[in-house]
């Protein structure tokens, strides 16, 4: 039984890898920064099991541009369990995920993002399986409150291992000062498994149960159930921000579960603490208990992790100078203004000797400022299609002394 528990824990690691990685890298300030960034996260994960700890690193890489978000992570875990053999030893575990999404969440704006992902788990290349997933998330949030909804669909290529499933989550948050609270409801619905392997230890499919499949090189727990399964979870969370440290705790309860997987109602909780000396380098400690996973047929388990996240703006190409954090345009960067859709746009200002200069369109109403602007403070105004000159929307403004207003551009 011990090897079964241990391998179950390894499989659990596969299952949670995606959410684990996103926890570390999808930090809240993703919603505020419009420029492109590259984030690297390295996490050491571990699961205490009866046969000894299983541990390994997770490396996550996030490339985010203004309109596209590419997430990749690779997990590598090593286990030292059941040395005596019996065919259950698991020397390594690899799991990778690639996901693309558009429109990262931003404060003060409603929106949606769509992601598609491919996950590949492998104890052994021969046993690799691929899971396709799609997610649609929509939200509206400001600094003090917000709501969001997410719908997910998963379709494994090998329906023997896990069933198709759909997931719907609704949530919201309220923030007051340095404290924030949140709540969410999640409903999961699975499809039926198509078949059961011939060497399974269980052939009785009259009831849903977790079973251990010896026939697969990817020896794992799985769901044996001729029926569709569903769960309903509710959760609450709280977080505190104290200077550079952020603490988060959550608790959840399954109000509707599957009796075949142990307790039909179960509770779980967890927390993490994130701290760092700069925005570019953050450390994370996490520990939690996870509930039974009816999709992958994984038992409840505990996790812990320590992580490091590094962020860099090395890939920045465009600077929206009319948004927060980018009021000042770094020298040698290309600045853009969102002036709106027009056939042509012009700028005139201190850096053009107040002579009109046409702006090059970057599409969708975004216009590229002339390059080569040196350090300094510049007054400027713009016009579309030969219309009235005005201060660019979004930029700081000041009176020009001639009865009008001008925008102010800072170049660091």
């Amino acid at each position: 039984m011990r090897p079964l528990r241990a391998l179950g824990a390894v499989a659990a690691g596969v299952a949670v890898a995606a959410s684990w990685s996103s926890l570390l890298t999808a930090q809240p300030d993703e919603r505020r920064i419009r420029d492109s960034s590259l984030t690297l996260s390295v996490t050491m994960r571990g699961w205490p099991t009866a046969a000894g700890p299983i541990q390994g690193p997770t490396v996550g890489l996030h490339l985010r541009t203004e309109w596209l978000w590419l997430r990749m992570h690779i997990d590598a875990s090593a286990a030292n369990i059941d040395r005596a053999g019996k065919g259950y030893a698991t020397p390594y575990l690899l799991d990778g995920q690639l996901a693309l999404s558009t429109q990262p969440m931003r404060l003060g704006k409603a929106g949606a993002d769509i992601s598609i992902g491919l996950a590949r788990d492998a104890f052994d290349p021969r046993a690799a399986w691929i899971q396709q997933s799609g997610s649609l998330r929509t939200w509206y949030g400001v600094a003090s409150h917000g709501v969001w909804a997410r719908a997910d669909a998963h379709a494994p290529l090998d329906a023997h291992a896990t069933p198709t499933s759909a997931e719907l989550q609704l949530g919201g948050w309220i923030a007051r000062g340095t404290t924030e609270v949140s709540a969410s409801v999640r409903h999961i619905q699975t499809g039926r498994l198509k078949a059961v392997g011939p060497d399974s230890t269980t052939t009785d499919l009259s009831a849903c149960r977790l079973d251990y499949d010896r026939s697969r090189v990817l020896q794992q727990y799985r769901t044996l159930c001729p029926q569709r399964l569903r769960t309903l979870d509710v959760g609450v969370g709280a977080a505190w921000s104290v200077h550079t440290t952020r603490i988060r705790l959550f608790a959840a309860h399954r109000v509707l579960g599957q009796a075949a997987f142990g307790a039909p109602r179960e509770s779980w909780a967890g927390g993490n603490i994130e701290f760092g000396w700069s925005d570019e380098m953050r450390f994370t400690l996490e520990a939690d208990r996870r509930p039974t996973d009816i999709v992958r047929g994984l038992p409840a388990h505990r996790r812990f992790a320590v992580g490091l996240r590094l962020s860099a703006g090395l890939l920045q190409r465009r600077y929206a100078v009319d948004e927060a954090r980018t009021d000042s345009l770094p020298a040698r960067r290309v600045g853009v203004l969102r002036l709106g859709v027009a056939a042509n746009a012009e700028v005139r200002g201190d850096f053009t000797d107040w002579q009109p200069v046409p702006l090059k369109s970057d599409g969708a109403g975004v216009w590229i400022l002339p390059s080569g602007i040196r350090h300094g403070v510049y007054m400027l105004s713009v016009r579309l299609d030969g219309g009235v000159w005005h201060a660019p929307p979004g930029l700081p403004t000041m009176a020009d002394g001639f009865g009008g207003m001008v925008g102010v551009l800072l170049v660091d």
Binding site: A175, R325, T326, D327, D350, T352, G401, L410
Partner: protein, 231 residues
């Protein structure tokens, strides 16, 4: 005699401008792309009435003597001409800018950059007193630039935040650890609040409380807002 002396100084200024621009990369001037080179003040005002020309020349002369950057004045002339303002109006605007630059220099000294001086002069022109300017500059470390701070203050006053409230609020934020990113965010948030009908002074006070309670990251940005996390 005065006219003759002014003319000679103007010629000297004319000749010295390219050198000044080369020696001071922070000077508020740039020649990006393929645009024509900037015109000298003398060329800009060549067709003006003599009295206006003389006044402009005297202002440039005074600025040069006081060690103030000439280029902001020159660009203000170019701006006025581009906006079809009358020479007398341009003279008045340039005089006001000269006064702002002078007051800012007196308040902040010579150790600040020209960009910061120009931003401070704009704040002075929007009603900020030199003493307030000095106090606000003193709320951030000397090695940091106050350019963003002054630009935001000017913008806030334009949006209706009283100067006293703006200076006091920004000073408190700066002392609490706010940096340029937080000041930029403040400007946007107050503008958004005002656009939604909130009084500018109330918006400023509300955002100040919110920012200080939330805290600031080491970079000076406001600590990130909550995330819609999942359980």
């Amino acid at each position: 005699m005065i006219a003759s002396r002014s003319t000679s100084l103007a010629l000297m200024i004319h000749a010295a401008l390219p050198l000044a621009a080369a020696l001071h990369p922070a000077v508020v001037q740039a020649q990006p792309g393929s645009r024509a080179p900037a015109q000298s003040p003398a060329a800009l005002i060549a067709g003006w009435p003599a009295d206006s020309r003389a006044e402009i020349t005297a202002l440039l002369d005074s600025a040069a003597k006081a060690g103030l950057p000439i280029d902001p004045l020159r660009m203000k002339i170019a701006e006025g001409i581009a906006k079809d303002a009358a020479p007398a109006t341009i003279v008045n605007v340039v005089r006001a800018l000269h006064g702002g630059l002078h007051a800012a220099r007196q308040a902040l000294g010579v150790r600040i950059t020209d960009a910061e001086l120009v931003a401070a002069a704009a704040a002075v022109q929007s009603g900020v007193a030199p003493d307030q300017l000095r106090a606000l500059r003193g709320s951030i470390p000397a090695e940091r630039s106050g350019t963003q701070l002054f630009v935001v203050l000017t913008d806030l006053t334009h949006r209706g935040v009283p100067v006293e409230e703006g200076v006091a609020g920004l000073t408190r934020l700066a002392r609490a650890g706010a940096g340029d990113a937080a000041f930029a965010q403040l400007r946007l948030d107050v503008a958004r609040d005002v656009a939604s009908g909130v009084a500018a002074q109330a918006a400023m006070a509300r955002r100040e409380r919110e920012y200080i309670s939330r805290g600031f990251a080491p970079s000076g940005a406001i600590f990130p807002p909550p995330a819609p996390y999942e359980h």
